[in-house]
Point group: C2
Chain length 109, copies 2
């Protein structure tokens, strides 16, 4: 998708991942795989892990270490109450931006 997508992801990727965690608990590798499958083909693994660390430090998610049959133990993340609130705020911000942009798209015919 190119550089545009990269820049556009800044600020939204966090919300995307929190939104995923809102519907179900997940671990980093799983999230990366899911994103790729959804069309975010160029998501760097390191990006997802770094983001998870960030949201954990901000106290938006809870973490549980779960042993895996294949490979090293997984860090399973789940959205907590604070994360829920943050996500709500994210959707509000997104809606605002989204509306302005759709308006602009039409305006430009």
């Amino acid at each position: 998708m190119g550089k545009q997508a990269t820049e556009m992801l800044k600020g939204t990727l966090e919300g995307i991942i929190l939104a995923i965690l809102a519907s179900r608990s997940a671990y980093g590798y799983e999230i990366t795989a899911w994103l790729r499958q959804q069309g975010f083909s160029e998501i760097a693994e390191g990006t997802v892990y770094a983001l998870l660390v960030r949201v954990e430090q901000r106290g938006l998610v809870d973490v549980e270490k779960v042993p895996s049959e294949k490979g090293p133990p997984r860090k399973v993340y789940s959205l907590n109450t604070q994360g829920q609130e943050y996500l709500t705020e994210f959707w509000r911000t997104w809606s605002f931006l989204s509306e302005r942009l759709e308006q602009l798209r039409d305006g430009g015919r």
Copy 2:
């Protein structure tokens, strides 16, 4: 709107401004004022000017210096052919991202 909005603007503000220039030529001060009026109340002036310099250097816009009755001369920007193409690409990227997010929003309950 807060920090979320700031981060979310990264990558999209460029498209927003190019979209504005697609419908009419404009200069920095004018664009800033318009954005504020549209609800982007916290847009920093410096941000807009820096962005305009960037898109000019990338050859996406043409510039014309126009004397003003009030204050220093205006730098009037207009979208050129290359900018048009870039904007089209921007809308494609935006659509992709937008669709995924709407999907996620529904999916989350």
